[in-house]
Protein backbone atom coordinates (compact mmCIF):
# COMPACT_ATOMS: atom_id res chain seq x y z
CA UNK A 1 0.00 0.00 0.00
CA UNK A 2 2.62 2.44 1.06
CA UNK A 3 4.94 1.60 -1.81
CA UNK A 4 2.08 1.85 -4.30
CA UNK A 5 1.27 5.31 -3.03
CA UNK A 6 4.86 6.38 -3.21
CA UNK A 7 5.13 4.97 -6.71
CA UNK A 8 2.15 6.96 -7.88
CA UNK A 9 3.49 10.15 -6.47
CA UNK A 10 6.84 9.45 -8.05
CA UNK A 11 5.38 10.50 -11.37
CA UNK A 12 5.49 14.08 -10.17
CA UNK A 13 8.60 16.04 -10.86
CA UNK A 14 9.58 16.50 -7.26
CA UNK A 15 8.38 13.17 -6.08
CA UNK A 16 11.75 11.64 -5.65
CA UNK A 17 12.71 14.09 -3.01
CA UNK A 18 9.51 13.30 -1.23
CA UNK A 19 10.16 9.63 -1.43
CA UNK A 20 13.58 10.23 -0.04
CA UNK A 21 12.38 12.77 2.44
CA UNK A 22 10.04 10.30 4.02
CA UNK A 23 11.45 8.68 7.11
CA UNK A 24 11.18 5.08 6.26
CA UNK A 25 10.42 2.68 9.01
CA UNK A 26 8.43 0.21 7.02
CA UNK A 27 9.48 -3.03 5.50
CA UNK A 28 13.00 -2.16 4.52
CA UNK A 29 14.20 -5.71 4.85
CA UNK A 30 12.61 -6.72 1.60
CA UNK A 31 14.19 -9.51 -0.37
CA UNK A 32 14.65 -7.24 -3.36
CA UNK A 33 16.45 -4.49 -1.52
CA UNK A 34 20.10 -4.00 -2.41
CA UNK A 35 20.85 -3.17 1.22
CA UNK A 36 19.11 -5.84 3.28
CA UNK A 37 21.23 -5.40 6.39
CA UNK A 38 23.14 -2.77 8.23
CA UNK A 39 26.67 -2.26 6.93
CA UNK A 40 29.62 -1.98 9.34
CA UNK A 41 29.07 1.20 11.32
CA UNK A 42 32.26 2.80 10.00
CA UNK A 43 30.67 3.05 6.60
CA UNK A 44 28.02 5.40 7.95
CA UNK A 45 30.46 7.66 9.71
CA UNK A 46 32.27 10.58 8.14
CA UNK A 47 35.92 10.55 9.11
CA UNK A 48 36.32 14.27 8.63
CA UNK A 49 34.31 16.02 11.34
CA UNK A 50 34.80 19.39 9.67
CA UNK A 51 33.40 18.04 6.42
CA UNK A 52 30.31 16.69 8.18
CA UNK A 53 29.72 20.02 9.89
CA UNK A 54 30.09 21.89 6.60
CA UNK A 55 27.77 19.50 4.79
CA UNK A 56 25.17 19.78 7.53
CA UNK A 57 25.30 23.56 7.37
CA UNK A 58 24.92 23.59 3.60
CA UNK A 59 21.27 22.59 4.04
CA UNK A 60 20.29 26.17 4.81
CA UNK A 61 21.54 29.59 3.81
CA UNK A 62 24.56 30.67 5.79
CA UNK A 63 22.46 33.38 7.42
CA UNK A 64 20.60 30.58 9.20
CA UNK A 65 23.08 27.72 9.53
CA UNK A 66 26.02 29.72 10.84
CA UNK A 67 24.18 30.23 14.13
CA UNK A 68 22.65 26.75 14.28
CA UNK A 69 23.58 23.78 16.42
CA UNK A 70 25.32 21.10 14.39
CA UNK A 71 25.06 17.42 15.25
CA UNK A 72 27.35 14.82 13.78
CA UNK A 73 27.00 11.07 13.77
CA UNK A 74 28.95 9.08 16.35
CA UNK A 75 29.02 5.35 16.88
CA UNK A 76 25.98 5.47 19.14
CA UNK A 77 24.00 8.33 17.72
CA UNK A 78 24.10 12.00 16.86
CA UNK A 79 26.26 14.20 19.08
CA UNK A 80 26.50 17.95 19.37
CA UNK A 81 29.57 19.22 17.55
CA UNK A 82 28.69 22.92 17.48
CA UNK A 83 26.47 24.76 19.92
CA UNK A 84 24.38 27.39 18.16
CA UNK A 85 22.20 30.23 19.27
CA UNK A 86 19.24 30.58 16.91
CA UNK A 87 17.34 27.37 17.67
CA UNK A 88 18.01 25.73 14.31
CA UNK A 89 19.82 22.39 14.26
CA UNK A 90 21.70 21.06 11.25
CA UNK A 91 22.58 17.41 10.67
CA UNK A 92 23.56 15.05 7.89
CA UNK A 93 20.89 12.37 7.78
CA UNK A 94 21.74 8.79 6.87
CA UNK A 95 19.73 6.17 5.05
CA UNK A 96 17.57 5.25 8.02
CA UNK A 97 16.59 8.84 8.64
CA UNK A 98 15.44 9.76 5.18
CA UNK A 99 16.12 7.28 2.42
CA UNK A 100 13.49 5.31 0.56
CA UNK A 101 12.67 1.87 1.86
CA UNK A 102 15.18 -0.12 -0.19
CA UNK A 103 17.96 2.22 0.85
CA UNK A 104 17.31 2.25 4.56
CA UNK A 105 20.73 0.70 5.14
CA UNK A 106 22.51 2.32 2.18
CA UNK A 107 25.75 3.54 3.76
CA UNK A 108 26.35 6.12 1.03
CA UNK A 109 23.32 8.27 1.88
CA UNK A 110 24.20 11.73 3.17
CA UNK A 111 21.26 14.09 3.53
CA UNK A 112 21.90 17.55 4.97
CA UNK A 113 19.00 19.22 6.73
CA UNK A 114 18.51 22.14 9.10
CA UNK A 115 15.41 21.94 11.28
CA UNK A 116 13.96 24.94 13.04
CA UNK A 117 13.44 25.05 16.80
CA UNK A 118 9.96 23.54 16.65
CA UNK A 119 11.32 20.83 14.37
CA UNK A 120 14.25 20.22 16.69
CA UNK A 121 11.87 19.62 19.60
CA UNK A 122 9.73 17.17 17.66
CA UNK A 123 10.86 15.87 14.25
CA UNK A 124 14.55 15.78 15.13
CA UNK A 125 13.88 13.77 18.28
CA UNK A 126 12.36 11.14 16.04
CA UNK A 127 15.44 11.14 13.83
CA UNK A 128 17.88 10.90 16.71
CA UNK A 129 15.84 8.17 18.42
CA UNK A 130 15.67 6.13 15.23
CA UNK A 131 19.40 6.58 14.79
CA UNK A 132 20.19 5.38 18.30
CA UNK A 133 17.98 2.33 17.88
CA UNK A 134 19.45 1.55 14.48
CA UNK A 135 23.03 1.86 15.67
CA UNK A 136 22.24 -0.26 18.72
CA UNK A 137 21.25 -3.03 16.40
CA UNK A 138 17.51 -2.89 16.90
CA UNK A 139 15.39 -4.23 14.13
CA UNK A 140 13.08 -2.05 12.15
CA UNK A 141 10.14 -3.66 13.83
CA UNK A 142 11.48 -2.54 17.19
CA UNK A 143 11.91 0.97 15.90
CA UNK A 144 8.36 0.93 14.61
CA UNK A 145 7.18 -0.36 17.96
CA UNK A 146 8.76 2.58 19.75
CA UNK A 147 6.94 4.95 17.47
CA UNK A 148 3.68 3.07 17.79
CA UNK A 149 3.95 3.37 21.57
CA UNK A 150 4.14 7.11 21.08
CA UNK A 151 7.38 7.33 22.95
CA UNK A 152 8.20 10.10 20.53
CA UNK A 153 6.42 13.45 20.69
CA UNK A 154 3.95 14.67 18.07
CA UNK A 155 5.05 17.37 15.67
CA UNK A 156 5.06 20.84 17.14
CA UNK A 157 3.14 23.58 15.36
CA UNK A 158 5.41 25.28 12.85
CA UNK A 159 7.95 22.44 12.66
CA UNK A 160 9.88 22.67 9.40
CA UNK A 161 13.29 22.17 7.87
CA UNK A 162 15.52 23.48 5.12
CA UNK A 163 16.93 21.02 2.61
CA UNK A 164 18.58 23.39 0.18
CA UNK A 165 22.04 21.86 0.02
CA UNK A 166 23.65 21.18 -3.34
CA UNK A 167 25.84 18.47 -1.92
CA UNK A 168 24.84 15.27 -0.25
CA UNK A 169 23.71 11.96 -1.63
CA UNK A 170 20.04 11.15 -1.57
CA UNK A 171 20.40 7.52 -2.50
CA UNK A 172 21.08 5.35 -5.52
CA UNK A 173 17.64 5.95 -7.00
CA UNK A 174 17.80 9.75 -6.66
CA UNK A 175 21.31 10.86 -5.84
CA UNK A 176 20.67 14.57 -6.29
CA UNK A 177 17.64 16.23 -4.86
CA UNK A 178 16.16 19.56 -5.73
CA UNK A 179 16.27 22.36 -3.21
CA UNK A 180 13.22 22.34 -0.99
CA UNK A 181 11.61 23.06 2.36
CA UNK A 182 9.72 20.50 4.42
CA UNK A 183 6.94 21.00 6.94
CA UNK A 184 5.96 18.40 9.53
CA UNK A 185 2.54 17.66 10.96
CA UNK A 186 1.10 14.79 12.97
CA UNK A 187 -1.76 12.82 11.44
CA UNK A 188 -2.72 15.43 8.87
CA UNK A 189 -4.47 14.79 5.58
CA UNK A 190 -2.31 16.02 2.66
CA UNK A 191 -5.45 17.47 1.11
CA UNK A 192 -5.53 20.12 3.81
CA UNK A 193 -2.71 21.89 1.93
CA UNK A 194 -3.97 20.91 -1.50
CA UNK A 195 -0.94 18.67 -1.86
CA UNK A 196 -0.45 16.10 -4.63
CA UNK A 197 -3.17 17.62 -6.80
CA UNK A 198 -2.49 18.55 -10.43
CA UNK A 199 -0.77 21.92 -10.61
CA UNK A 200 -0.14 22.15 -6.88
CA UNK A 201 3.40 23.12 -5.89
CA UNK A 202 3.00 21.13 -2.69
CA UNK A 203 3.81 17.43 -2.47
CA UNK A 204 3.07 15.40 0.64
CA UNK A 205 3.08 11.94 2.07
CA UNK A 206 1.09 10.95 5.11
CA UNK A 207 2.41 7.92 6.93
CA UNK A 208 -0.27 6.60 9.31
CA UNK A 209 2.19 4.23 10.94
CA UNK A 210 4.40 7.11 11.94
CA UNK A 211 1.50 9.51 12.49
CA UNK A 212 3.53 11.88 10.37
CA UNK A 213 2.65 14.00 7.36
CA UNK A 214 5.47 15.70 5.49
CA UNK A 215 4.78 18.55 3.10
CA UNK A 216 7.45 19.48 0.58
CA UNK A 217 7.71 22.79 -1.23
CA UNK A 218 10.44 23.20 -3.83
CA UNK A 219 12.50 26.35 -3.72
CA UNK A 220 14.00 28.13 -6.66
CA UNK A 221 17.51 28.52 -5.29
CA UNK A 222 20.12 26.53 -3.46
CA UNK A 223 21.28 27.62 -0.05
CA UNK A 224 24.18 29.50 -1.63
CA UNK A 225 21.79 31.63 -3.67
CA UNK A 226 22.39 30.01 -7.05
CA UNK A 227 19.46 28.94 -9.20
CA UNK A 228 18.03 25.44 -9.00
CA UNK A 229 16.08 25.10 -12.23
Amino acid sequence: MRKKKVGAIAIKSFALLVVLGTACLAKAQDATTPYPNMAPVDQYLMTDQGAEIALARSAAPDSISRDADVLILGRHGFETAVKGKNGFVCIVGRGWTSAADPEYWNPKVRVPMCVNAAGARSYLLRITKITELALAGHTLDQVNEAIAKKELPPMEPGAMCYMMGKQGYGGDSAPHWHSHLMFFYSDTDPAIWGANLPGSPVVAIADPMEHLTQFVIPTQKWSDGTEDR
Partner: protein, 249 residues
Protein backbone atom coordinates in the same frame (compact mmCIF):
# COMPACT_ATOMS: atom_id res chain seq x y z
CA UNK B 1 19.98 41.90 1.04
CA UNK B 2 19.83 42.83 4.70
CA UNK B 3 16.89 42.35 7.02
CA UNK B 4 16.32 46.10 7.05
CA UNK B 5 16.32 46.30 3.28
CA UNK B 6 13.81 43.48 3.10
CA UNK B 7 11.53 45.14 5.60
CA UNK B 8 11.68 48.42 3.77
CA UNK B 9 10.05 46.85 0.76
CA UNK B 10 7.64 44.52 2.50
CA UNK B 11 4.72 46.80 1.83
CA UNK B 12 1.97 44.33 2.48
CA UNK B 13 1.34 40.66 2.95
CA UNK B 14 -0.13 40.58 -0.51
CA UNK B 15 2.60 42.60 -2.07
CA UNK B 16 5.83 41.15 -0.89
CA UNK B 17 6.79 39.33 -4.04
CA UNK B 18 5.95 42.16 -6.35
CA UNK B 19 7.66 44.58 -4.03
CA UNK B 20 10.82 42.55 -4.19
CA UNK B 21 10.63 42.54 -7.96
CA UNK B 22 10.12 46.27 -7.92
CA UNK B 23 13.10 46.86 -5.70
CA UNK B 24 15.27 45.05 -8.17
CA UNK B 25 13.84 46.36 -11.41
CA UNK B 26 11.98 49.63 -11.38
CA UNK B 27 12.26 53.12 -9.93
CA UNK B 28 9.86 54.10 -7.20
CA UNK B 29 6.41 55.35 -8.05
CA UNK B 30 6.05 59.03 -8.84
CA UNK B 31 3.61 59.69 -6.00
CA UNK B 32 4.58 60.36 -2.43
CA UNK B 33 5.64 56.86 -1.41
CA UNK B 34 4.38 57.47 2.10
CA UNK B 35 0.83 58.41 1.22
CA UNK B 36 -0.07 57.56 -2.38
CA UNK B 37 -3.63 56.67 -1.34
CA UNK B 38 -4.46 58.66 1.79
CA UNK B 39 -8.19 57.93 1.84
CA UNK B 40 -10.71 55.41 0.66
CA UNK B 41 -11.79 55.83 -2.96
CA UNK B 42 -15.47 55.74 -3.98
CA UNK B 43 -16.70 52.20 -3.33
CA UNK B 44 -17.43 51.59 -7.01
CA UNK B 45 -13.71 51.59 -7.69
CA UNK B 46 -13.28 48.53 -5.50
CA UNK B 47 -16.11 46.52 -7.03
CA UNK B 48 -15.90 44.12 -9.97
CA UNK B 49 -18.15 42.39 -12.42
CA UNK B 50 -19.41 39.36 -10.49
CA UNK B 51 -18.41 36.67 -12.99
CA UNK B 52 -15.03 38.27 -13.57
CA UNK B 53 -14.46 38.34 -9.83
CA UNK B 54 -15.40 34.66 -9.47
CA UNK B 55 -13.02 33.69 -12.26
CA UNK B 56 -10.21 35.80 -10.84
CA UNK B 57 -10.74 34.37 -7.36
CA UNK B 58 -10.57 30.82 -8.68
CA UNK B 59 -7.42 31.55 -10.64
CA UNK B 60 -5.53 31.87 -7.35
CA UNK B 61 -5.12 28.10 -7.12
CA UNK B 62 -4.84 25.25 -9.59
CA UNK B 63 -8.20 24.16 -10.94
CA UNK B 64 -7.89 20.90 -8.99
CA UNK B 65 -8.35 22.96 -5.85
CA UNK B 66 -10.42 25.96 -6.86
CA UNK B 67 -12.94 24.04 -8.97
CA UNK B 68 -14.60 22.70 -5.84
CA UNK B 69 -13.97 25.73 -3.63
CA UNK B 70 -16.52 28.22 -2.38
CA UNK B 71 -16.16 31.67 -3.89
CA UNK B 72 -17.00 34.91 -2.17
CA UNK B 73 -17.33 38.26 -3.93
CA UNK B 74 -17.26 41.84 -2.73
CA UNK B 75 -20.48 43.84 -2.59
CA UNK B 76 -21.19 47.35 -1.30
CA UNK B 77 -21.60 46.02 2.21
CA UNK B 78 -19.09 43.21 2.42
CA UNK B 79 -18.23 39.82 1.03
CA UNK B 80 -21.00 37.42 0.17
CA UNK B 81 -20.99 33.84 -1.03
CA UNK B 82 -21.34 33.57 -4.78
CA UNK B 83 -20.55 29.87 -5.16
CA UNK B 84 -20.99 27.15 -2.55
CA UNK B 85 -18.09 24.72 -2.75
CA UNK B 86 -17.56 21.29 -1.38
CA UNK B 87 -13.89 20.91 -0.47
CA UNK B 88 -13.70 23.45 2.36
CA UNK B 89 -11.51 25.90 0.45
CA UNK B 90 -12.64 29.48 -0.12
CA UNK B 91 -11.43 31.63 -3.00
CA UNK B 92 -11.80 35.37 -3.05
CA UNK B 93 -10.24 38.58 -4.31
CA UNK B 94 -8.74 40.63 -1.53
CA UNK B 95 -8.66 44.41 -1.73
CA UNK B 96 -5.99 46.77 -0.48
CA UNK B 97 -7.46 47.09 3.01
CA UNK B 98 -6.57 43.50 3.79
CA UNK B 99 -2.93 44.55 4.05
CA UNK B 100 -1.29 45.88 7.19
CA UNK B 101 -3.06 48.94 8.57
CA UNK B 102 -0.12 51.20 7.73
CA UNK B 103 0.46 49.84 4.26
CA UNK B 104 0.84 52.78 1.84
CA UNK B 105 -1.42 51.02 -0.67
CA UNK B 106 -4.13 50.26 1.87
CA UNK B 107 -6.68 52.25 -0.11
CA UNK B 108 -5.27 51.50 -3.56
CA UNK B 109 -8.43 50.70 -5.57
CA UNK B 110 -6.44 48.82 -8.18
CA UNK B 111 -5.42 46.05 -5.79
CA UNK B 112 -6.99 42.70 -6.70
CA UNK B 113 -5.38 39.93 -4.70
CA UNK B 114 -6.77 36.58 -5.79
CA UNK B 115 -6.45 34.09 -2.97
CA UNK B 116 -7.65 30.58 -2.15
CA UNK B 117 -7.65 29.70 1.55
CA UNK B 118 -7.53 26.14 2.83
CA UNK B 119 -10.19 25.04 5.35
CA UNK B 120 -8.27 26.03 8.51
CA UNK B 121 -7.51 29.44 7.03
CA UNK B 122 -11.07 29.86 5.81
CA UNK B 123 -12.31 29.21 9.34
CA UNK B 124 -9.77 31.26 11.24
CA UNK B 125 -8.40 33.97 8.92
CA UNK B 126 -11.33 34.84 6.73
CA UNK B 127 -13.56 36.05 9.59
CA UNK B 128 -11.06 38.86 10.16
CA UNK B 129 -11.34 39.83 6.51
CA UNK B 130 -15.11 39.88 6.71
CA UNK B 131 -15.01 42.05 9.80
CA UNK B 132 -12.59 44.58 8.37
CA UNK B 133 -14.42 44.81 5.10
CA UNK B 134 -17.87 45.30 6.56
CA UNK B 135 -16.66 48.01 8.90
CA UNK B 136 -14.71 49.92 6.27
CA UNK B 137 -17.56 49.75 3.77
CA UNK B 138 -19.85 51.08 6.49
CA UNK B 139 -17.64 54.13 6.70
CA UNK B 140 -15.65 53.48 9.85
CA UNK B 141 -12.16 54.87 10.28
CA UNK B 142 -9.05 52.77 10.71
CA UNK B 143 -8.97 53.64 14.40
CA UNK B 144 -12.56 52.51 14.82
CA UNK B 145 -11.97 49.31 12.90
CA UNK B 146 -8.89 48.48 14.93
CA UNK B 147 -10.86 49.03 18.14
CA UNK B 148 -13.76 46.93 16.89
CA UNK B 149 -11.51 44.06 15.90
CA UNK B 150 -9.75 44.15 19.24
CA UNK B 151 -13.08 44.09 21.06
CA UNK B 152 -14.24 41.18 18.91
CA UNK B 153 -11.05 39.27 19.68
CA UNK B 154 -11.40 39.93 23.39
CA UNK B 155 -15.01 38.76 23.34
CA UNK B 156 -13.99 35.70 21.31
CA UNK B 157 -16.27 36.75 18.49
CA UNK B 158 -13.28 36.29 16.21
CA UNK B 159 -11.58 32.90 16.30
CA UNK B 160 -8.00 32.09 17.24
CA UNK B 161 -5.72 31.01 14.44
CA UNK B 162 -5.95 27.34 13.56
CA UNK B 163 -2.93 25.19 12.82
CA UNK B 164 -2.08 24.28 9.24
CA UNK B 165 -3.31 27.39 7.51
CA UNK B 166 -2.17 27.97 3.95
CA UNK B 167 -3.37 30.10 1.08
CA UNK B 168 -2.55 29.93 -2.60
CA UNK B 169 -1.86 33.15 -4.47
CA UNK B 170 -0.81 31.82 -7.85
CA UNK B 171 -3.03 33.87 -10.14
CA UNK B 172 -1.57 35.52 -13.21
CA UNK B 173 -4.36 38.07 -13.04
CA UNK B 174 -3.75 39.53 -9.60
CA UNK B 175 -2.67 43.11 -9.04
CA UNK B 176 -0.89 43.20 -5.70
CA UNK B 177 0.89 46.50 -5.79
CA UNK B 178 1.78 49.44 -7.98
CA UNK B 179 5.38 48.33 -7.78
CA UNK B 180 7.33 46.33 -10.31
CA UNK B 181 5.54 43.54 -12.09
CA UNK B 182 2.60 43.92 -9.70
CA UNK B 183 2.40 40.21 -9.02
CA UNK B 184 4.21 36.91 -8.42
CA UNK B 185 2.98 33.38 -7.58
CA UNK B 186 3.39 32.36 -3.98
CA UNK B 187 1.96 30.47 -1.04
CA UNK B 188 1.20 32.09 2.30
CA UNK B 189 1.14 30.59 5.76
CA UNK B 190 -0.26 32.14 8.92
CA UNK B 191 1.50 31.52 12.20
CA UNK B 192 1.07 32.81 15.73
CA UNK B 193 4.57 34.26 15.73
CA UNK B 194 5.65 37.80 16.47
CA UNK B 195 8.19 37.76 13.65
CA UNK B 196 9.70 35.52 11.01
CA UNK B 197 12.61 34.13 13.01
CA UNK B 198 10.95 30.78 13.69
CA UNK B 199 11.14 29.90 10.01
CA UNK B 200 14.38 31.71 9.24
CA UNK B 201 12.49 34.29 7.20
CA UNK B 202 13.86 37.51 5.73
CA UNK B 203 17.46 36.35 6.04
CA UNK B 204 19.94 36.41 3.19
CA UNK B 205 19.16 33.68 0.61
CA UNK B 206 16.21 32.41 2.63
CA UNK B 207 13.28 31.51 0.36
CA UNK B 208 10.91 32.48 3.17
CA UNK B 209 9.65 36.01 3.70
CA UNK B 210 7.53 37.12 6.62
CA UNK B 211 5.56 40.15 7.64
CA UNK B 212 3.46 41.05 10.61
CA UNK B 213 -0.22 40.59 9.75
CA UNK B 214 -1.28 43.75 11.52
CA UNK B 215 1.32 46.40 10.82
CA UNK B 216 4.59 47.29 9.18
CA UNK B 217 5.53 49.61 12.02
CA UNK B 218 3.60 49.49 15.27
CA UNK B 219 4.22 53.20 15.82
CA UNK B 220 1.49 54.38 13.45
CA UNK B 221 -1.25 52.51 15.28
CA UNK B 222 0.20 51.64 18.70
CA UNK B 223 -2.98 49.86 19.80
CA UNK B 224 -2.06 47.07 17.35
CA UNK B 225 0.79 46.13 19.66
CA UNK B 226 -1.74 44.53 21.98
CA UNK B 227 -3.16 42.31 19.23
CA UNK B 228 -2.40 38.58 19.24
CA UNK B 229 0.90 37.95 17.46
CA UNK B 230 0.24 36.92 13.90
CA UNK B 231 2.76 36.63 11.11
CA UNK B 232 2.31 35.83 7.46
CA UNK B 233 5.02 33.70 5.89
CA UNK B 234 5.45 33.64 2.15
CA UNK B 235 7.20 31.20 -0.13
CA UNK B 236 7.50 31.97 -3.83
CA UNK B 237 6.72 29.22 -6.33
CA UNK B 238 7.87 28.90 -9.90
CA UNK B 239 4.57 28.44 -11.73
CA UNK B 240 1.27 30.19 -12.05
CA UNK B 241 -1.91 28.30 -11.22
CA UNK B 242 -2.38 27.43 -14.90
CA UNK B 243 0.92 25.58 -14.91
CA UNK B 244 2.88 28.11 -16.93
CA UNK B 245 6.32 29.17 -15.81
CA UNK B 246 6.60 32.37 -13.80
CA UNK B 247 9.61 34.68 -13.89
CA UNK B 248 12.29 33.78 -11.38
CA UNK B 249 11.92 35.82 -8.20
Amino acid sequence: MTRNQIHSILLSAFAVVAALIAAASLPAAAQDPNQPYPTMAPVEQYLMDRDTEIALARSAAPDAISHDASVIVLTRHGYETAVEGKNGWVCWVGRGWMAMFDNPEFWNPKVRAADCLNPPAARSVLPYAYKRTELFLAGHSKQEVIAAIKAAIDKKELPPLEQGTVSYMMSKGSYLTDNGGHNGPHLMFYQTAKDGAAWGANLTNSPVLAVNYWYNSAETYPQLKSFPPLSVFLIGVDKWSDGTQAPSM
